[in-house]
């Protein structure tokens, strides 16, 4: 392996052993994978923007807001529930808790990476465990959020049928019908948060594998904890995507 102090002139650049960008192969490939994943998520979020902009926006006073298929819903009015407080209007509080959980688990992950640099097996185990717990907590919150949206409100939305004059009431949202606004709103919500949730789930599984390997001393035998760093990059990326999902779905 090229020593750190060696300048490029005294090693053979094409003879192998030189790390491009001074980053290991694994980390570099993780970065390029994450770049490609950035494009996937960008595609999804930009589709959300396109479809939202092609719908009428709600222009009236927020206090008179009612759900309708005529315009895009105001997020404050859709995402306003939190567990055990049925019917209480608390906009953004629950998603705020979810955001906090994910940022917190990003912090514990970076603490695990730092412990890996110091070859501190106990600390790596401790922080990996906290990160895994954070991941599960986030997934649990998302399961509740989805259930809340699928079940719908107490009063539902009354719409008239296309084919006759009769009316019927829609409760909750699914991929075909949506109580809260245009059906595309629910489709995009379930697809994008679902795709992100799948990323969180795979991240949790990877974290569990890393935790297990660290516990049985695999990385101590290898001589470095780089695997924690690589999976850490993925985990922070999941957090990063959530920051954008949070802004586009819940804030704007």
């Amino acid at each position: 392996m090229a020593s750190h102090s060696a300048t490029t002139s005294d090693v053979n650049l094409w003879g192998g052993g030189v790390e491009p960008f001074k980053a290991s192969y694994g980390k570099l490939m993780m970065w390029f994978f994450l770049l490609s994943d950035t494009f996937t998520f960008s595609g999804l979020l930009i589709t959300y923007g396109l479809i939202r902009f092609s719908h009428q926006a709600y222009t009236g006073d927020i206090h008179n807001f009612v759900f309708s298929h005529e315009y895009w819903p105001v997020p404050d009015m859709v995402f306003n529930g939190i567990p055990f407080l049925h019917g209480v209007h608390l906009p953004l509080v629950f998603v705020g808790i979810m955001t906090f959980i994910l940022i917190m688990s990003s912090v514990t992950m970076v603490l695990a990476v730092e412990a890996g640099h110091r070859m501190d097996r106990n600390d790596v185990q401790k922080w990996m465990l906290w990160t895994i717990l954070g991941g599960f907590a986030f997934l649990g919150c998302q399961a509740w959020e989805w259930t809340h949206l699928i079940v719908g409100s107490d009063h539902g939305l009354t719409v008239s049928n296309v084919w006759n004059t009769a009316t019927r009431t829609i409760f909750g949202a699914n991929l075909v019908e949506n109580e809260y606004g245009p059906p595309a709103f629910a489709d995009l919500f379930f697809f994008i948060t679902g795709f992100h949730g799948t990323h969180v789930l795979s991240g949790v599984i990877l974290n569990i594998i890393i935790f297990y390997n660290a516990s049985i001393g695999v990385y101590e035998r290898t001589g470095h904890y780089e695997m924690v760093e690589k999976v850490g990059l993925y985990w922070h990326f999941v957090d990063l995507v959530w920051v954008f999902v949070f802004t586009f779905f819940y804030l704007i």
């Binding site: 392996m1 750190h4 960008f21 001074k22 980053a23 290991s24 570099l28 970065w31 770049l35 950035t38 960008s42 930009i46 589709t47 923007g49 396109l50 479809i51 939202r52 902009f53 092609s54 719908h55 927020i62 906009p91 953004l92 705020g96 955001t99 906090f100 940022i103 917190m104 990003s106 912090v107 992950m109 970076v110 603490l111 730092e114 412990a115 890996g116 640099h117 110091r118 070859m119 501190d120 600390d123 101590e220 035998r221 290898t222 001589g223 470095h224 904890y225 780089e226 760093e229 850490g232 990059l233 922070h236 990326f237 957090d239 990063l240 920051v243 954008f244 802004t247 804030l251 704007i252």
Partner: protein, 108 residues
């Protein structure tokens, strides 16, 4: 990474003390920015102001997550640019498709 390659296979005899100041500083910044977003969400009614501030604050958060947590700020310049420059395509797609969305609405 450079230091860890030279350790023996059984791990170091003495474990260095944790140095986590920068990590917690980044955490407080992220928490503060999120709190600020909440404050604006509950107090401001101006739509244009909200959208611009939320977008700017999101980029601030992204900067700290990618720069500090993902350590990109401390990588070599060429790596930083080879990750950042391709995302310009995303910027182009945002502008193109937002305008497209607006004209679909007008044509409906």
């Amino acid at each position: 990474m450079e230091a860890t390659h030279h350790h023996q296979t059984n791990g170091p005899a003495v474990i260095a003390k944790a140095n986590t100041g920068a990590i917690w500083r980044t955490f407080w910044i992220l928490l503060g920015v999120t709190a600020l977003e909440f404050l604006i969400a509950f107090t401001s009614d101006s739509k244009m102001f909200r959208i611009t501030t939320f977008l700017l604050l999101t980029i601030v958060k992204a900067f700290f997550i990618v720069g500090e947590f993902m350590h990109l700020k401390h990588e070599v310049k060429s790596l930083i640019w080879s990750i950042l420059i391709p995302t310009l395509f995303v910027v182009w797609l945002v502008i193109a498709l937002m305008m497209e969305g607006g004209s679909i609405l007008e044509l409906r």
